[in-house]
Amino acid sequence: MSSNASANSHVHIPKVGTLIAVFVTLIVLTFVTAEVATFDLGELNVIVALGIACTKATLVAWIFMGVRYTSQLTKLFCVAGLVFLSILLLITFSDYSTRHWTYHARPWATNPSLGTSK
């Protein structure tokens, strides 16, 4: 942990104004996401909610967590985390969203008697 002493020369100290601006944006977006949920937009509701959440998360990571000011290697690690997460989600969803295809192709999956009769 003492690496800070040597790395200190290129430590980025964020401006107070930047931090406050991010804070205000986050509070406003929280209000917006709660307000949007009072309208029935069908499928759009969850898309807007997740879009706002991703924007807020990116703001927190980019400024508060200082990803913007870190090394390329740390940025690569952050992206790697997102890639791992998308693998987790994509494979899970592709499994669950295509299960009924196989049930169609194999009627005995939903009606066991069909599979054994021959």
Binding site: A53, I63, L82, L85, T92
Partner: protein, 201 residues
Amino acid sequence: MDADTLGMWTFLITEVLFFGGMFAAYAVYREMFPLAFAATSEFMNVKIGAANTAVLICSSLTMAMAVRSAQISKTSHLIRYLFGTLFFGTIFLVVKAFEYHAKYVEHLIPGPNFHPDNLAPQFMHNAQILFFLYFCMTGMHAVHMIVGVGLLTFLIIMAYRNAYNEHYFAPVEMIGLYWHFVDIVWIFLFPLLYLIGHWHW
């Protein structure tokens, strides 16, 4: 090279996947039982959830300010902002405890005693899945908050001992990363758990 920053981010990636598994389970069951999930939204207190989101954002700001104070060797400011973060974090946990109590009183704990009023009978079974996920996800988030409160207490004690200055502030920065990460988890939990259906002010 900042080995500490890289190591912390590696840990946070494992945390992303830890919570990611629960988010995946949530998404699968919401896709399976959209109506049952939407029917539970009236049991969620959106105003309290939104207020608690704001409280966590406040704690993230004070945490960022604490790191900044350490970077410029302002120990008195550092202690003040760490206390601010501890304060907001504790407020969040206390509000969460009251929310859990309200769920308990309304018989919303999944299991044999799950029988809330005003829930259509056809949703009785599948709605429990949402509340199971609700307690797992917010519970694990709260556990992380409690750990964070402990880490903040450690930082405050060390800051009183003048342990941090412009040459050495890695613990403040790393615990800051952890705290912001826990905030990000809540940023996703709030819309996904509280804003499934529609509500009115």
